[in-house]
Symmetry: C3
Subunit: 261 residues, 3 copies
Amino acid sequence: MSILTLLTDFGTQDTYIGVMKGVIFGICSTVTIVDLTHDVAPQDVVAGRFHLESAYRYFPSNTVHLVVIDPGVGSDRRSIAFETAQGIFIGPDNGVMTGIHDSPIIVAVELDRPQYWRTSSPSSTFHGRDIFASVAGHLSAGVAIQALGSTIEVSSLVCFPELFTVNSEGKQQGIVQSVDRFGNLITNLRLDLNLLECWNIHLPDHILPIQKNYSESGVGQLVAIVGSHGFVEIAVNCGNAQERLGIRVGDRIAIDIKGNR
Amino acid sequence: MSILTLLTDFGTQDTYIGVMKGVIFGICSTVTIVDLTHDVAPQDVVAGRFHLESAYRYFPSNTVHLVVIDPGVGSDRRSIAFETAQGIFIGPDNGVMTGIHDSPIIVAVELDRPQYWRTSSPSSTFHGRDIFASVAGHLSAGVAIQALGSTIEVSSLVCFPELFTVNSEGKQQGIVQSVDRFGNLITNLRLDLNLLECWNIHLPDHILPIQKNYSESGVGQLVAIVGSHGFVEIAVNCGNAQERLGIRVGDRIAIDIKGNR
Amino acid sequence: MSILTLLTDFGTQDTYIGVMKGVIFGICSTVTIVDLTHDVAPQDVVAGRFHLESAYRYFPSNTVHLVVIDPGVGSDRRSIAFETAQGIFIGPDNGVMTGIHDSPIIVAVELDRPQYWRTSSPSSTFHGRDIFASVAGHLSAGVAIQALGSTIEVSSLVCFPELFTVNSEGKQQGIVQSVDRFGNLITNLRLDLNLLECWNIHLPDHILPIQKNYSESGVGQLVAIVGSHGFVEIAVNCGNAQERLGIRVGDRIAIDIKGNR
């Protein structure tokens, strides 16, 4: 049994996702499909990268991850697939799948072989159906990644700059990269769990120490912890930090060592 | 492995869909269930028909499609199933499944045999669980459609009039039949792809030529194309046409041959 | 083929559910996972209990039901699993799974054996991934419930009081425990279906008889029926009772025998 995950910005109010599954099951009837989420904001490649990064490592290492957040569909952006020790990734070459991997890319291909597409005249607006779903189905059915297209240089892939930064004063500057359903503000700051007690989070009106877990604070209190994604996040115990603080995705967050300056 | 699709207006905030799947898997544990969408507006049979029409042709031809958009549940409207070369369709006889098929109906039955229901005293409000899910499970498990009920005349099925019209001036009048998550306005107008350049879309304040794809226009520009559903749709490149134009489902759209009148 | 249901308050806009499925399939690749709903209001244990109660009885009796509505995650509340003749239930010991079963609990355990967790150092905020999904995967793969932890007394489980009440005047007092997508107000009042015609619902400005089905009333009319969940619910035929009446979850509803007082 092989697993195929889907991550898109298509929402669930239309049949786009259902149609992609129809194409996949028509090629490989035994694959198990898992929806990561389809509620990424339309065309938000940065949020898509965060969601993929949050999820892929919890799947078996032979999983195929299909990502369709594709503002450039129909343009000359490449369609690609690449393989690491942690899975195979398929999607547009726009940065949504790059810079997130603990292990190096073994092989990358451009999906330029129409015999693996649903049709040699794909819709200009729905490569998710006509190219990506079809190719993902063939991969799940056992076709080798090298068969799906021409090998391309790993260094040629579109890659976002790393957002996590350390500035000259010993502080670290990050941003809020996602807000989850509970209003938790998830930064792009990673910290060594053994050194948590050394750091403070600087908010406009607060300085928060980083705690080990929620239960060190009372109900309704602001708390900074290293969340389940491995990033520093700002939460309100049994409450909503976004509503409390008015902080949004993209806002900058600083942390520094306690007592520094 | 057989596939069963679900299309309803039940939403996903309640357990109605989960319950239907419990009934289905209790009868046929090996079927693969695919959600088309459950976010059809409550009781909107026209939108349901659009979504079914958009999706069914991308599934294997032995797929069972279960549609439960059923404002008449508990009344004397019939519960039906019918078979075409492109699949088996189950749902209420209210037009939601009719008039959309490229191939003719081979056989139609009324679901009047309680031995295939979950209970001979079905809930008056949830035939989706007590009749349709159960019958769909038996179909998926290999029961022949003819066993599920009395054969009925295909001509007796409730059928919507075709919405696409050609008027006396050589124009074609259609409506916006759906707005997707991206704000694209999907009409019910189909056009020959080889004659695209001959047609204009008439909006209240715009005349738009029909283009081959988005990339012929700049970011933020209005564009009319034949979308992935095969219908003319009005979009804004990387934007939201519904917000731009204020056009809603049901609004009329006219197209005509360039230079006409 | 075994079935595993998921019921959470995680929503579907993040990858939390996808991640849990990754963990489960990594342990048991052949299980069939069914989403009940993930749109329970954050931390709403009462609504979660209603949804579980509405759904579990429609699944095969060997189904595993995993419930993660867990405001106390990271505190000292217990993680538990228990078995009845109608399935195995896994989740936090906070009342979300108790008091709803037609058949008694056969065995209950505390999930205190880290060898069945994803990691012996679980995230303090995401036991759904690190403990519950992993244990559910092992259960689905055939591990006996007794192996997963120390046996605990059934009487020690956190249990909500029964909300349904009969007052001294022969009336019954209940509450609206859920509002579904259609605006139907679902109470926690159960009635003998053979005695429906004896009862009236008392609303602030209305007295409604309880009817057998919608079709006894006209479109747009208020109606009280015993809904598909088995509870008395208040609906508007082809309309929205919540919008009409302004009644919310938690509001009290009284019924009495016709002619009483």
